[in-house]
Structures are given as structure tokens and as C-alpha cells.
């Protein structure tokens, strides 16, 4: 329990810091009054707007109000698009989430088995080759992978679309590209592009973890117990390897979200990343603030999921039932 509480405290801290940065952006970077009434407004008008916005209140009150608004999903109106930030984000969020999820599924689904396999077959040629390839995967810039894939599969071969999301289906407030052929085809190149770096990274980390576990005393003792290699490798080593790997995958999910900005730019994918790049280029502060809080929230959710996974897998985190626990 103390583990979960500690982690929760950390998450709340991250959320608060992110909210404060967002608030500070909103409040102090640029002049909110200017942005609302324009340069030509009279002093009296400005003063009225100032008061209406509550900009004269103490900072703490303003921050509290900001948090209150944020909790209701109200981040104000985007300077650039003239629409509520929440609506803009809500509209773009599904595209980014689908892209990130699919690429993470690809990266984890291939990365973990490959990492484990290369750790168990350390000396083999294929393992060395995979390791070398993974180093290239880590060293390649994401945007170049995207451009290369477009050059080959869109421009050269003409097999797959190079931009957009294809046809999407609306399910309630959610638009999905997973249910149409064109939507799925459009997803291939971006998700692969986004997944390559993560795949290489997860594979390398899974390999390192597996090697580490194979050196532990309990594996040596399992060998001394005469267990079969398969049982040692999969029942004991793999399960212990998965714990840190889960943490890494959780952390990387946040990175995938950030890297989707790059991939969305390359593939003109109509998601949050594309929106944020525009927000940065045009100093669209409300949109930036909203995005920042959303990202922090995503991290909080991911962290919570990782912690729950730990609780499910690791008995040490679950807390002890028996007495006589070692100190």
C-alpha cells in the first residue's frame, strides 16, 4: 500500500507541476488581455477585461481557478483556431491515441520476444545481427525513417498512402480508422515509423534485463535444482525480466506520445501532435496549456497502469500476509 501511495504522490506532484507550468504560460507568457481585445482597445476596456478575467486576483487564487477550470476541461479559446481548446483536443485525440497504441503494440510485441531471444542465444550470429540492427534502429532519427518509408512505399511502389488517416468511422464522440480498409492502410507507415525506435529500444532493454536476471542467484539455484532449461528460462527468468520491462514500456508510452508530434508532421496525420506544432509556431498559449495538462494526465494514467501491473505480478508489492517477515 505504501508503495502505491508513494507512487500516487509522485503522480500528483507531476500533475501539479505540469498544471503550474501551463498556468504560468497562460498567465505570464504574452499578454492575455492583448490577445483577447486586440491592440486597439482603450485602457478602460483593458481594465474591464482584466477584471473580468480575474487577473487582478492573487496568484494563488488565479492558479486555483485555473485548476478548477482545467478539471472541468475548460482551457479557454485557442488564439489561432478561435474554438474552445477542449473541443479541438477532443477532436484530435483519437487519431494520436490510435497511432500511439498501435505502434506501441508493434514495438512491445516484437521487442520483448526479440530481446529475450537474443539474450538466450547470446553467441549466435543471428543474435549479433539483431543487436547490430537494433543499434541502427536507436540511432535513426524518426523523421528520416518516415521520409524513407514514404519514398519507398508511397512514391516508389505506390502501395500505401503517405498522408492522412484514410476513412474514419465515428463511434459516439470517437473517430476510429481501425474499422476501414483505407484507415488501416493509412495507419501502417506512421505506426511503423513511430514504432521502430521503440522496438529497438525495448528489445535492447529486454535483452539487458534478461541477461541480468540470468546472472542472479535464484537462477543459479534453479539450475542446481536440476530444472529444465525451458522452465528456468521462461518460468523463472522471463517473469522476473517482465517487471522492469513493464516499467520501461510504460515510460516509453509517454515518449511515443511526444514522438507522435514528429510522425504526425511527416505524415500529415490529423492528431494532437500536428495541432501542437502549430500551437508552438503561432504561440497559441491556451492550446499549449491544454496540451500540457493532457500530456501530464496521460502520464498519470500510464503510471497508474504500470503500478497496477506491478501489484498484479509482483507479490513483494502486494504486501505481506505472513508474519515473521525479514527486515
Amino acid at each position: 500500500m505504501s508503495f502505491l501511495l508513494g507512487r500516487l504522490g509522485q503522480t500528483v506532484l507531476v500533475l501539479l507541476v505540469a498544471s503550474f507550468v501551463a498556468f504560468a504560460l497562460f498567465r505570464y507568457v504574452g499578454d492575455p488581455v492583448n490577445n483577447m481585445v486586440g491592440q486597439a482597445a482603450s485602457m478602460a476596456d483593458r481594465e474591464a477585461v482584466r477584471r473580468a478575467l480575474g487577473l487582478d486576483d492573487p496568484m494563488v487564487v488565479q492558479f486555483a481557478r485555473f485548476i478548477g477550470n482545467a478539471l472541468r476541461g475548460d482551457f479557454g479559446i485557442s488564439y489561432r483556431f478561435g474554438q474552445p481548446v477542449a473541443a479541438l483536443i477532443g477532436e484530435r485525440f483519437p487519431a494520436t491515441l490510435e497511432l500511439s497504441l498501435i505502434s506501441m503494440v508493434i514495438a512491445t510485441g516484437l521487442g520483448v520476444p526479440l530481446g529475450v531471444w537474443t539474450a538466450l542465444h547470446r553467441g549466435s550470429v543471428l543474435s549479433q545481427v539483431l543487436l547490430a540492427v537494433s543499434l541502427v534502429g536507436v540511432a535513426l532519427p524518426t523523421f528520416l525513417i518516415g521520409i524513407a518509408l514514404i519514398l519507398i512505399f508511397s512514391v516508389g511502389l505506390g502501395w500505401l498512402p503517405s498522408f492522412g488517416r484514410g476513412e474514419v468511422v465515428a463511434l459516439g464522440g470517437w473517430t476510429t480508422g481501425l474499422l476501414t480498409v483505407s484507415g488501416l492502410k493509412a495507419l501502417v507507415l506512421p505506426s511503423v515509423t513511430l514504432g521502430v525506435f521503440q522496438l529497438a529500444l525495448i528489445m535492447r532493454l529486454a535483452r539487458a534485463e534478461m541477461l541480468e536476471v540470468m546472472r542472479t542467484d535464484f537462477i543459479r539455484f534453479a539450475k542446481a535444482r536440476g530444472l529444465k532449461p525451458r522452465a528456468i528460462e521462461y518460468r523463472h527468468a522471463l517473469r522476473n525480466t517482465l517487471l522492469p520491462v513493464i516499467t520501461i514500456v510504460g515510460l516509453q508510452f509517454g515518449n511515443v506520445f511526444a514522438f507522435s508530434i514528429i510522425v504526425e508532421t511527416v505524415f500529415q496525420w490529423p492528431g494532437l501532435g500536428l495541432l501542437v506544432i502549430q500551437a508552438i509556431q503561432f504561440a497559441d498559449v491556451p492550446l499549449l496549456a491544454g496540451y500540457l495538462v493532457l500530456i501530464a494526465l496521460c502520464f498519470a494514467v500510464i503510471n497508474l497502469a504500470v503500478d497496477l501491473a506491478y501489484v498484479a505480478i509482483d507479490p513483494r508489492v502486494r504486501g505481506s500476509r505472513a508474519a515473521g517477515r525479514a527486515t
Binding site: 509522485q10 506532484l13 507531476v14 507541476v17 505540469a18 507550468v21 504560460l25 507568457v29 504574452g30 543499434l135 541502427v136 536507436v138 540511432a139 535513426l140 532519427p141 524518426t142 523523421f143 528520416l144 521520409i147 524513407a148 514514404i150 519514398l151 512514391v155 503517405s162 539487458a208 541477461l211 509517454g254 515518449n255 506520445f257 511526444a258 514522438f259 508530434i261 514528429i262 508532421t265 511527416v266 501542437v276 506544432i277 500551437a279 508552438i280 509556431q281 504561440a283 498559449v285 499549449l288 500540457l292 500530456i295 501530464a296 502520464f299 503510471n303
Partner: protein, 308 residues
């Protein structure tokens, strides 16, 4: 810093050199990296044309494929860009910019990170808690996002001309801001071990001053891991700069880096003028790969836990 020199010297004639000599991959990667550094340093002498001189650009020669001859008899080994600039020259200057930004941000991050790590590890207490908490929170956000955000904030706060003029320092700061954490954590962990070693206790007993203990006794012992992180981070920093420039939030087009060159070329991918993005892209990959592979070698060679 004789102790530091001694530490470095002992790696050099010991394990490190031995492993280096036996690893063709490490030798090649170091050679390539050194070659690229040399080209970047000698950009003014090596580049066939001055990439910054508007007179050297000729719009008539725009988007010529590699190996073309220009209007005035120039040869463009790697073709020209949309403004008629020689790609090869632009790339050499771009390489210089990329390396400069990468190195500067690594140095800045390492300085800040090592210092904070030393302080946090040696003094402990509230200072340690505060520094490490900040590190934890920051680690929750991806590097590229922090860099984007810093760029976004400065863009909003500063007028455009000022921002463009300060683009390089801002970029260096933005990248360094997300990389210091790793140094701080590593150094702190090592210091926690080192500070209870006999030689440190002995130094303290005979009244050696704290800064002296930190910098002449403890620092040399944590330099190895710092060197490894710095090498791997150099590749990461170069990639981050390239990515930011590619996204159009890094360096202005008047000061091209490899990333912004790829960005320019990206607009012409569909018209078949592949070289405008492929050539600087390939150079970027070469740079990133060579530094990365060498960093990987260093990590394996200097990490006794991984050595079998």
C-alpha cells in the same frame, strides 16, 4: 587534476585500449566520427561554395540532381537545393551547426548534471531531496517535449528577430534542459558509494576542504560513466536538434543544420527530387550512427557488470 589523468591513463593502457584494438566496429565508428568532426571544423576550407553567401546561390540552378553542372560551369556533386545552393556545401555547414549545437548542449547538460549530482550525493539531506525530486518530475516528460516547450515559450515571450538571433543558445539550453537528469542521477549514485570509501574519509579527517574532496578525489572516479553518458547523449542531442529543426521550431532557415536541410527537402520528396532530403539525411544518419556505436562500445567496455 593528476588523479583524473591517472584514472584516464589507467583505462587507456588497460582494458579499454585492448578492447578497442579488438573491435573493428569501434575503430571504424571512431574514425568516421573523427572524420566528420574534422570536416565540420574545416568547413570554410573544405566546402566548395559558401552556403551562407547569397551570391553563391543561383535560382536558375535550383533543384539540380547530383553531379549536374551549373550555369557558370560549377559542378554540384550532390545537386542543388530549391534556392540553387550547392547541397554538398550546405551539408558541410549544416554538419558544423549540428555538431556545434550537439556538443554545446552535451557540455552544458554534463556540467549542470555532474555538479548537481555531486552536491546531492555528497551533502544529502534536503538539498538532495529537492534536486532528485525535480529530476524525477522532469524524467516523467520526454526530452523532445521539454525542448519543444522551451522553444515554444521563448518564441511567445521574445519578438521574432530576437528569437531568431538567439536561436542557437535557446536550442542548446532546450536540449540540455532535458539531459542533465541522467548525469545527476548517475553521479549521485556513484558519489553515495565513493563518499564512504576510506580515501574520502581519510581526506576528510586530515582536513581537506569539501570542494577539494569533491573535485580532486570523487570527481575522477565518476568520470568514466559520465563519459559514456556524454557520448551516447551527443548522438541523442544531435538527433534532438535535427528533429526540432525538422519540425521547424529549431534553427531558422538562414542557419541551416542537417535537420532543417531535410525539412527543406521533404517538400520535394513527391516531385522526385529525393536528393534534397536524402543527402543531408544520410549524413545525419552517418553522424548519429558513428557516435552511437562508439558510445555503445564505450559503455560495454567501461561497465564491468556487463563484461563477461
Amino acid at each position: 587534476m593528476t588523479a583524473a589523468r591517472a584514472t584516464l591513463a589507467s583505462w587507456w593502457d588497460g582494458d579499454l585500449l585492448y578492447r578497442f584494438r579488438r573491435s573493428p566496429v569501434a575503430i571504424v565508428s571512431l574514425l568516421v566520427a573523427v572524420l566528420l568532426f574534422a570536416v565540420a571544423l574545416g568547413a570554410d576550407a573544405i566546402a566548395p561554395y559558401d552556403a551562407f553567401d547569397p551570391a553563391a546561390a543561383n535560382v536558375v540552378d535550383a533543384r539540380l540532381p547530383p553531379g549536374s553542372a551549373g550555369m557558370y560551369g560549377e559542378t554540384y556533386l550532390l545537386g542543388t537545393d530549391p534556392q540553387g545552393r550547392d547541397m554538398l556545401s550546405a551539408m558541410i555547414y549544416g554538419l558544423r551547426t549540428s555538431l556545434m549545437v550537439g556538443l554545446a548542449s552535451v557540455v552544458l547538460a554534463a556540467l549542470v548534471g555532474v555538479l548537481l549530482g555531486l552536491v546531492a550525493g555528497y551533502f544529502g539531506g534536503v538539498l538532495d531531496a529537492v534536486i532528485m525530486r525535480i529530476a524525477d518530475v522532469q524524467l516523467s516528460f520526454p526530452a523532445i517535449l521539454i525542448a519543444l516547450l522551451i522553444d515554444g515559450v521563448t518564441r511567445t515571450a521574445l519578438p521574432r528577430e530576437v528569437h531568431d538571433a538567439l536561436a542557437v543558445p535557446i536550442l542548446v539550453f532546450a536540449i540540455a534542459a532535458s539531459f542533465w537528469v541522467q548525469y545527476a542521477r548517475t553521479v549521485r549514485g556513484l558519489v553515495l558509494v565513493e563518499r564512504n570509501r576510506e580515501y574520502v574519509l581519510a581526506a576528510r579527517v586530515i582536513g581537506v576542504s569539501t570542494p577539494r574532496i569533491l573535485f580532486t578525489h570523487i570527481l575522477p572516479n565518476v568520470l568514466g560513466p559520465v563519459l559514456v553518458i556524454a557520448t551516447i547523449n551527443l548522438a541523442l542531442a544531435i538527433l534532438t536538434e535535427a528533429t526540432l529543426s525538422f519540425l521547424g521550431v529549431g534553427l531558422p532557415s538562414t542557419q541551416p543544420s542537417l535537420g532543417s536541410l531535410v525539412r527543406i527537402g521533404n517538400e520535394f520528396v513527391f516531385s522526385g527530387d529525393w536528393w534534397i532530403s536524402a543527402a543531408p539525411g544520410a549524413l545525419l544518419v552517418l553522424l548519429s550512427l558513428s557516435v552511437n556505436i562508439f558510445g555503445d562500445f564505450l559503455r560495454d567496455a567501461l561497465n564491468p557488470k556487463l563484461a563477461s
